[in-house]
């Protein structure tokens, strides 16, 4: 498998590299230079160009895209129904871009389509990092909070729990993020169970190639 990554920051990308290897159970061939978006909705804006570029100009077969959900609606089981599309759900939106962009692609470099792998961290990547460490942090807790109109934590709080400051330097951010990711490397089950937005990424990554 030849994998390219599109993420929102160097720290997100560092975590993603570890998680992709852990899911595949073997080191994947991940392209050294990751694609970068400047947060939402810039991810959505650059994604078609990244897909086209990879399809026609490279032999990469898999594109992993992640973003934070922030305060957008969370992708739920109901969204998985055929033909369903939630216009504000980031998972639904990113998947739709994959679908529409590669709809009429001819076969190139021996494959029909780039494998679509989408993960959405609810509400931010730091929640994945805290999974299994802080028991109050989960996608369900966030959804319950959204429904009750009282969020269990803020993005800023999650960041502070990991970095111990509101303004981590980039090396500090990456170091802390990788330290927390270590917990998931050997056992992804908790992350998969507590964060369906990560489970979806796992499922996509293990799906068969479309040749």
């Amino acid at each position: 498998m030849k994998v390219a990554l599109l993420s929102e920051s160097p720290a997100d990308e560092a975590v993603l590299r570890v998680l992709v290897d852990a899911i595949l159970g073997e080191p994947a061939k991940i392209t050294p230079a990751g694609f970068r978006a400047r947060g939402w909705p810039n991810v959505l804006q650059v994604l078609p160009a990244v897909i086209r570029h990879l399809h026609f100009n490279t032999d990469v077969d898999t594109l992993v895209v992640t973003c934070d959900s922030d305060d957008s609606p969370v992708h739920t089981e109901a969204h998985e129904a055929p033909q369903y599309y939630h216009p504000h759900c980031r998972m639904c939106q990113l998947r739709a871009v994959f679908r529409q962009t590669s709809k009429r692609f001819p076969t190139a470099h021996g494959r029909l389509k780039i494998r679509r792998v989408v993960g959405v961290a609810v509400p931010a990547l730091e929640a994945w990092l805290l999974c299994g460490r802080d028991s109050d942090v989960s996608e369900a807790a966030w959804i319950n909070g959204q429904q009750a109109g009282r969020l269990p934590y803020t993005r800023a709080e999650l960041k502070f729990r990991i970095y111990q400051t509101e303004r981590p330097s980039l090396p500090h951010e990456i170091e802390c993020a990788l330290r927390e990711t270590e917990r998931h490397r050997s056992d992804l089950r908790r992350l998969e169970y507590d964060f369906p937005g990560f489970a979806a990424l796992m499922k996509d990554l293990k799906s068969p190639a479309q040749t």
Binding site: R38, P41, D71, S72, E166, R167, L170
Partner: protein, 334 residues
């Protein structure tokens, strides 16, 4: 409570385009807006404050004048009882200052912190020059004594120099070290070492961005920095993907504890024209000041004062929102 800010508010009356506006300064302030909208005027006002604060206070009655430009400053706790008012003969020359304070000792404390205020418009051509070792403790406002400052830092604060150098090499991994040479006329010149047997790259052959980054690092790793630092165009010459690192270099000044530094925070007033730099402040809109210019009049606004900020961030990045005009702070077109 002892606040880490030095200057709390600035109120302008008829100072250039700043006819009637005020600004609360935070510890870290990134000022954005069109050209001629008051970003530089704000920094000039702070410089005038620094200059005039160092003279003995004159007799108010003689100097009081009405109608001319006026700028008044208040200071953060525990000096919040001090008010300094500048009067200006013209836009360029403020020539008197009146201080209102019930506490003379408080003013002396404020004065000593203001004495260290520095403002920078770095100039890569000036920074590439060799420099005389005199007067090399503080970086000159255009950075022209960079080589001498580096040499002095290495001599007087080797540990701080080593950390500065390590950070430079982390940010620009193509280099292996800072090389300082004293020339026969005692002037200091610097170059940057590269991997392998190649000759170090002499200053005059380095790219603009390297100078600006080096200048910011010299300020940020200063073991005894000024209490207030103003820096214009912090994004100049820097690749957009590196702007997060530039933000962090400046954050090191204002939030030393977050960066493992054991010194007082520095109040920073920085300007930029880069939407990508603005994107770096998504989590801290309270640090963004927008200058709005309408006709000949300009005023300041804090981004965090916008009630609809959460909705705006849902629709686009801060940089995109600024470019679109939704945040204001764009040039007028006719």
């Amino acid at each position: 409570m002892h606040s880490v800010n030095v200057i709390d508010t600035v109120v302008f009356h008829n100072f250039k385009a700043l006819r009637n506006t005020s600004l609360h300064l935070s510890l870290f302030n990134l000022v954005i807006g069109p050209n001629g909208s008051g970003k530089t005027s704000l920094i000039q006002a702070l410089q005038q404050l620094r200059t005039l604060s160092q003279f003995p206070l004159g007799n108010d009655m003689i100097h009081t004048r009405s109608g001319g430009p006026e700028i008044s400053f208040t200071f953060s706790a525990p000096y919040s009882a001090v008010v300094a008012q500048l009067g200006c003969a013209s836009d360029l020359a403020c020539d008197f200052m009146r201080v209102e304070s019930r506490d003379a000792a408080a003013w002396l404390k404020v004065k000593s912190r203001l004495a260290t205020l520095r403002s920078y418009v770095l100039d890569h051509n000036a920074m590439a020059q060799s420099s005389a070792p005199v007067d090399s403790t503080a970086l000159a406002s255009n950075g022209s004594n960079l080589a001498a400052v580096l040499a002095a830092r290495r001599r007087d604060a080797p540990e701080a120099f080593a950390r500065l150098e390590a950070e430079l090499l982390r940010l620009l991994p193509e280099f292996t070290g800072i090389v300082l040479d004293e020339e026969s006329d005692q002037r200091v010149r610097f170059s940057l070492g590269i991997d392998g047997a190649g000759e170090p790259v002499r200053a005059e052959n380095l790219s603009q961005g390297v100078f600006y980054l080096l200048g910011l690092l010299v300020l940020s790793f200063d073991p005894k920095p000024p209490a207030v630092v103003c820096i214009e165009e912090i994004d100049r010459g820097i690749h957009p993907r590196m702007l997060r690192e530039v933000r962090d270099v400046l954050y090191r000044l204002s939030y030393p504890a977050s960066f493992g530094e054991k010194r007082e925070p520095v109040q920073v007033i920085a300007t930029t024209h880069s939407p990508y730099m603005l994107d770096q402040f998504r989590d801290h809109p309270d640090e963004i000041v927008i200058t709005q210019k309408i006709g000949h009049e300009a005023r300041f606004e804090r981004l965090s004062d916008r009630a609809d900020l959460p909705e705006l961030l849902r629709d686009g990045t801060l940089g995109d929102m600024w470019f679109s005009g939704v945040l204001g702070g764009v040039p007028e077109e006719r």
